[in-house]
Symmetry: C2
Subunit: 223 residues, 2 copies
């Protein structure tokens, strides 16, 4: 029984929570899919209460949507929602990048962001969707952590970045043209301690991402 093991880490709801997020990245769950509580109870071997708590946390973060008396479903972004989200991420990531740049001198920050960028720039990593996704998450997480704004760190996971990443993973063109050069620009600006430059670079990156997404066919979106 994984009870004791689970309790140490994050508890049963955490197991389900992480299991679903991970399953999303691994393709086990796809946008629109139904998440039946009884199934999850069986799959993760936890009580139904824990499943419900995990689901409501996921719903709070916008990853799944819960409808009254209907199964929770993996949320799927419409074209408009995606546009809104990208616009919001532009602002938030710009803010995060600026803060990070302003604090690059403190503690081990310079080293941390350098490492995060290094693994992102590794061509080996770039070939593997899963590894690249992880490296990218680490990069962003490091950037936010450097900024040392606790409230921003709390809020960032509550955006739906994960959804964007997963929903459009099939359309690799979205990433390929854009990603590495942009990340390099962001990293260098942060490394220089240039706040405004980092903010601009981050915003530019997100805007390019948004432009690429705009060009995707309707089939990539929900409703």
């Amino acid at each position: 029984m994984p009870k004791t093991l689970a309790a140490k880490t994050d508890g049963s709801p955490g197991v389900v929570y992480r299991g679903i997020v991970d399953g999303l990245y691994r393709g086990r769950y796809v946008p629109g899919q139904r998440l039946v509580e009884a199934d999850l109870t069986r799959d993760f071997e936890v009580g139904r209460g824990s499943v419900r708590e995990a689901l409501s946390r996921l719903a709070a973060e916008g990853l799944v949507s819960m409808n009254l008396h209907r199964s929770a479903t993996i949320r799927s972004l419409s074209r408009n929602e995606t546009r809104d989200l990208v616009a919001l991420l532009e602002v938030l990531n710009g803010f995060a990048a600026r803060l990070a740049a302003e604090r690059v001198e403190e503690g081990a920050n310079r080293k941390l962001i350098a490492e995060a960028y290094a693994s992102l720039a590794d061509v080996e990593v770039q070939r593997d969707f899963l590894r690249f996704a992880r490296a990218r998450n680490t990069f962003y997480k490091t950037m936010v952590a450097m900024g040392a704004n606790h409230e921003l760190a709390r809020l960032m996971p509550r955006t739906n970045v994960d959804l964007v990443r997963v929903q459009f993973r099939a359309y690799t063109t979205v990433d390929d043209d854009v990603r590495i050069e942009d990340y390099r620009a962001i990293y260098e600006a942060i490394n220089e301690g240039a706040g405004r430059k980092a903010e601009t670079a981050a915003k530019t990156h997100i805007r390019r991402l948004g432009d690429a997404i705009d060009k995707l066919p309707d089939a990539a979106f929900a409703g």
Copy 2:
């Protein structure tokens, strides 16, 4: 107040959720206060599961903090957390104000924001903390709704504005000097459809608020 998000057809957990948020504004609960599940079960006459769900939603929004094997408590902001939060709100509110200004022509937007501002500017309303808080929430909510960015609307209630408002309510000086003139500037910029101007006005307002909070004595903050 994030009522819109949770209020609709939400059952027992919603009752508890709204009861706590409302109690916060009414002074029934104060920052730092312990929220024992058993007590809430009795007070709201719902099952413990519903209480827990409400608490975890409140925790997700940052209004309460849940401690392992210890009662949940109404979160109380430290000086640093407040500073972080204000910096974040500056960015988000600036964004919201800009979007609102850009869309003032659409639908009934001009009328809506005018009404929201009118009740905010009513001296009668300003004397009553509760009524003023409601009017201010309406103003902000209208502003966000005008922007029509669904993701921003989803994220805004997950900041801890409510906490700031409640925690420093005793120190009226924070508000008095600042509020009305700033709100007027924001409103007028939005009404003119001047995006950048509205963004600046909103940011200025938040920054002034932050300055006022910085001057508060340590007693106003948590550990």
